[in-house]
Symmetry: D2
Amino acid sequence: MMFASDNASGAHPAVLEALVVANAGAAMPYGNDAATARVEDMIREIFEAPRARVLLVATGTAANAITLAGLCPPWSAIYCHDIAHIEIDECNAPEFYTGGAKLAHVAGDHAMMGPDALEARLAISGPGVVHMAQPGAVSITQATERGAVYPVEAIARLAAIANAHGLPVHMDGTRLANALAATGASPAEMTHRAGVDVLCLGATKAGVMAAEAIVLFEPEARPNLAWELELRRKRGGHLFSKMRFVAAQLEAWLSDGLWLELAAHANAMASRLHDGLAGLGLVADTPPGANLMYLHLPGPTHAALQAAGAVYYTHDRPFGAVEARLVTSWSTTPAEVETFLATCHTAAA
Amino acid sequence: MMFASDNASGAHPAVLEALVVANAGAAMPYGNDAATARVEDMIREIFEAPRARVLLVATGTAANAITLAGLCPPWSAIYCHDIAHIEIDECNAPEFYTGGAKLAHVAGDHAMMGPDALEARLAISGPGVVHMAQPGAVSITQATERGAVYPVEAIARLAAIANAHGLPVHMDGTRLANALAATGASPAEMTHRAGVDVLCLGATKAGVMAAEAIVLFEPEARPNLAWELELRRKRGGHLFSKMRFVAAQLEAWLSDGLWLELAAHANAMASRLHDGLAGLGLVADTPPGANLMYLHLPGPTHAALQAAGAVYYTHDRPFGAVEARLVTSWSTTPAEVETFLATCHTAAA
Amino acid sequence: MMFASDNASGAHPAVLEALVVANAGAAMPYGNDAATARVEDMIREIFEAPRARVLLVATGTAANAITLAGLCPPWSAIYCHDIAHIEIDECNAPEFYTGGAKLAHVAGDHAMMGPDALEARLAISGPGVVHMAQPGAVSITQATERGAVYPVEAIARLAAIANAHGLPVHMDGTRLANALAATGASPAEMTHRAGVDVLCLGATKAGVMAAEAIVLFEPEARPNLAWELELRRKRGGHLFSKMRFVAAQLEAWLSDGLWLELAAHANAMASRLHDGLAGLGLVADTPPGANLMYLHLPGPTHAALQAAGAVYYTHDRPFGAVEARLVTSWSTTPAEVETFLATCHTAAA
Amino acid sequence: MMFASDNASGAHPAVLEALVVANAGAAMPYGNDAATARVEDMIREIFEAPRARVLLVATGTAANAITLAGLCPPWSAIYCHDIAHIEIDECNAPEFYTGGAKLAHVAGDHAMMGPDALEARLAISGPGVVHMAQPGAVSITQATERGAVYPVEAIARLAAIANAHGLPVHMDGTRLANALAATGASPAEMTHRAGVDVLCLGATKAGVMAAEAIVLFEPEARPNLAWELELRRKRGGHLFSKMRFVAAQLEAWLSDGLWLELAAHANAMASRLHDGLAGLGLVADTPPGANLMYLHLPGPTHAALQAAGAVYYTHDRPFGAVEARLVTSWSTTPAEVETFLATCHTAAA
């Protein structure tokens, strides 16, 4: 019963098969290979963004930090939710890559930035005031750290605010596949058509070993950015020599809609878990949507789950209770969910 | 006929098989898995360094830059050869990770730092002079960018000079396996016993997909360094969530001496090429040793090789000649070498 | 009627006289001169800190940023009030000098960090968790950006919390002189005896042209820090060659208690303004103490003051009202205060 | 007998008088004052550059590092002489401000970059090659660290090479006044008309306390650069609140040609010293021009000078000899020079 994180899952078998295929023969390094070219084309097609520039990297932190560094000068502020991954889980990687930009907090329920809060925060920013951090970019995490999914319209509204202030929009799409599967929106609708300028498309948590893609939708709008991102990737140590193996993972994952299928499965497992727990009176603090949830577990229930071998992260709460984070993945089985629920049921009895 | 780079090779089949094995089931992320623990132990054993701390990353640039940042403060100078990889091929990654340290040049034949040149360079450094970059570390590349292999004694001599100046020694061991295979020295003899403090052990070019290890031999000597390297790895975006897949590659590569066997093969192919070319009057500028060489090719010979599909990097030289870099790998075949030689022979005739 | 900022004031005549004296003859550069040695001794004596190391710089931002960079590694968090000068008025200088540390917000009235808020913030920090910014330092501004003065006991309490978490305490003492004059505490009591590890002592706003001092009270506690601060000062471009002129300013300012006399005058002018305005129903939002206050001015009053030539910064408020910041200085005259009050009185009538 | 450095001199009396004048009354901070506006206009007029943007700072290192950071991204290389001040005397300040750019060496006699050496160095740079530092800027020091003065035509030739490679030209003009006085060239001829894009105009060593100016000659050519330099100045801690005092120094220094008069005096003292020493068989290694020279002194001569109270920096040479650096300044007196020469004469006898 692994509910610790979607990154505790392995890779889908199709990904490993693709690696074997990719391994045949020699290939020019650093992305000058056929697999990389193919996956770039696939991403352009899937996102209906024929001019997009695509850069492959291997971790989500690399994707986010390189992108933000390209968008935001060292003297700028990046507007994100208080508990965005870039703020609390990347050990100052955005500050490192940007050369010292600041992350400015915007509040909102379920780790979603609220439009009013964004407006209010921007209203006290100081564009043109030399003493103050200059507005840099708005960064949206889809799905959020609390498992919520921004509707397309919510993204569009935040992007409109950003644009009104002359700011580009970055999407941390570590769990974009889950958000797409949850809403049925198309990749284009949820990203560039809603105003996202640069997407960090996550695949690692969603079924591959280690692969992510930075997607710059409108390179003409920022003529030097694509090349700058390449240089930043290189000097960050993220330009893989045997890039074909990163590309092959993504190619397998994106082929025939596998990525959305895997995400739909993870979401379905989360939903089943969510509903089952609610039926036991254990109500998650976020409506179901993507593949993670937070909820409070009574001490005895937690103890029983531990004894049964369930794995998940917790924060201590009074009276022996815990706040638990439960995450499902492409590899979560219905049996794991049912065993978890049964254990809770027994403990509560 | 691929002689462009050892990073144009794929991964050894054993590496891919190991990935399939590693993929079974869930595993805790970020290196808290059994495969990572095992490979750390293997490295400690192979290097006869029971207290060593090991950090896995996926690119050589990451390994070098993170290590140098841990050893060298931003106001320091790193002493390396003029054409060291860290100086000319990493797009200022060391400067980025260190926060602005300087790479100071030390000359020497075949891209090996000369001990006298190192002494001379250190003699004009300014320890304790606030206006000058403070001495930071000595960085040795084994084997060098020109295919030369430092004998163990040469490393020991450079390390002694470094230590006399209070400086730690970093080894960029991208091709350490080739150097070990070429000399028969043991891993311990060529590294910590010769005075190397931190090794960046390269596997990517030597038979895996993407895996490198930072090996800190004496963590007690620098009590905060191991933890600092972990933090630097994380904020550099190089802490892989599904670390087991990095570990599995290294485990397969290091098992049963495979790594040395593959390196010996690459060296043998280079030696065969070297000798064959010399027999045709095409003498490489570096004595044989590791798996790469530079030499001048007459224009017609270069043209014939191109026509025959040989792939290698060149620099233009007068009269249509080129300086060619030829690199062999674990996957180079004798047939490739023989075809290359035959083409040269025919062209010369 | 200049109430815009204390940095709109000039230098006290004694400071200029000291410059003339310091100008006689040649002097060794970069602080190797007699005036610098004398002022370092004066600061050690005045602060009753015989082992303290003193570094002179010329701006408060430089003093703060260099100090914080010495205390806080790039992967750390600096705990400060939401509207601390280092957070909102230094254009990411702390982030720049630290190489990407993060400023973490601690709330509190009148821009003073509350001890409970500090405890709460530290409770969710992640020492030892590689994904999270590591706790770096606590930074206290005395007096605060809202004109409040921390009592000595409040500083001691915050410092005790910091120490319990293993964190050093930085004091941004841009207006320390005002705080000392307001409370009667001794320089030692308000700084190192209350737990401050490094003080940035501000003189620029308090009567000189451009001079500040970084005071490291217990250099033995952090053996490499003093030298590191010297290197950071140099590479920040803040090591003045003709240091005697920075020293001379401080020497004049600190001699015979002039600094406290000037601060007491500024405070007295602020108090007179504060009370006079309160008598007119214009109540400042912070109790009197140091030399600045915020208050709301009705539109007509603001207009009358502008017409009369009063200078101060404002933020717009509804119905034509403004929030005004009024700052007095060593050079503010009673006549300026009285004219300001009279103008308000007339406007209200 | 002070020949250690021109920064051991004080400020010209006119500079101190100007400070007294500037001190009258209040003035808006951060350069929003009349004196700053006036000195900016003076610089535009003197340099015949009506559109130039001028930023005042207080140290040469700050001027150079801020400027280079504006011109050169972190992944770039700055081409300068091996012993340029930015390379050996600023403790990695350029690397710090640029965020990790690299300084690439160009050789040449008397610390002047040779045009052929610059061409050769640029020929092995890698524009467009992602692995290599990208060409950033060419930096020329006028006069050089060895006391040589580039003729206008030499600057123009280097600038033409830079421009042919798409690179901007930075001039470290710490001793530009000496170079102008030595050659009779006009400020415009020696800078923007010769192809210099940004000048760091030094006044500190040439007669003021602490003041330098960054002069961006053609702001239209780089539309965002002037604002970026302002932000970089602020976040570097170099935006002085009481800017009028920096401005007043420069205004006095530039008025009525005082700056060139003081430089001509310093040069004349150096020339007198140079010729006198040559007459004693002590030949400097650089032809006379600006206000500094290097030469070898026999041991007994050095000892006699030390005994007589002469102050200068030395490097040890065999047999008790030293290489001495002798620097004159605006305040060097003929008597100092004569006493120095007489001491040498006596020692040699």
